[in-house]
């Protein structure tokens, strides 16, 4: 690993950002729920796997995260639609 590489700097920055956001008190950013903790855990794991050049593993984790977020917001959208009518 060359620490000056742009990819590695971005990965370390994103991982540290996720850790710091988790450590903040809950009235600033609410991480009490299960779903938000999963987001942080998967982001840290993806940054780690990008750093050790396991790009496919990182892309897989990010895809899982994206699909889960998509399902979550689809669920929210459908619930809002059904409440309106």
């Amino acid at each position: 690993m060359d620490p000056i590489l742009f990819k590695n700097m971005i990965c370390v920055f994103i991982g540290l950002l996720a850790m710091i956001l988790l450590l903040l008190p809950n009235h600033i950013i609410d991480t009490t729920s299960c779903k938000k903790n999963w987001v942080a855990v998967l982001v840290i794991l993806a940054s780690g796997s990008f750093i050790i050049n396991k790009t496919l593993l990182g892309i897989f984790i990010i895809l899982v995260l994206a699909v889960a977020l998509f399902i979550h917001y689809l669920n929210v959208y459908i619930e809002r639609q059904t409440h309106e009518y």
Partner: protein, 164 residues
């Protein structure tokens, strides 16, 4: 507080014994009149023992990640939070497994392994807790168990403990 300081001191000198052979190398270098801690000596050390330095660095970050994961608040969700010593143990196990995975797949040791070990040892207790909580929730949905039932089950366990 004094007990904790004493514990930290005890752990420190036990860890220092592990690194005693390295001081022999330093004393041998002093006896040979080669300037210890000179530029050339440090460069030779860094080039010859780079893997050892990286392993020591990843051990250090393993300890740091485990400590952060230990004092980290568990998510207030679902199951009862894990006991703290178990969290520490899970962190250390996760870090070592990550290190073994990296060495097995890459066959070399590069500085990347330090951050990888730290990230996995930080994350692993949260993963175990969240998987546990999710498993409880899914089985609850499947068998029609609600939160009140779970509370009564927990209470019954506590009663058994007090009774025995």
């Amino acid at each position: 507080m004094g007990d904790k300081l004493r514990l930290i001191f005890a752990i420190f000198w036990r860890a220092a014994i592990i690194f005693l052979p390295m001081t022999e190398v330093a004393f041998a270098a002093l006896e040979r009149q080669s300037p210890f801690l000179s530029n050339s000596y440090v460069r030779d050390f860094a080039s010859m023992y780079s893997d050892v330095i990286l392993i020591v660095g990843s051990l250090f970050l393993l300890a740091a990640g485990s400590t952060i994961g230990y004092f980290f608040p568990t998510p207030q969700y679902g199951a009862k939070p894990l006991p703290k010593p178990v969290k520490l143990l899970i962190s250390v196990v996760g870090g070592f497994l990550a290190f073994a995975y990296y060495v097995h797949t890459e066959k070399t040791i590069t500085p990347a392994v330090i951050w990888w070990v730290a990230a996995v040892s930080f994350v692993s207790p949260a993963i175990i807790h969240l998987v546990h909580a999710a498993a409880i929730k899914f089985t609850g949905i499947r068998f029609g168990i609600i939160q009140e039932d779970l509370d009564s089950i927990k209470k019954s366990f506590n009663d058994e403990k007090e009774g025995s």
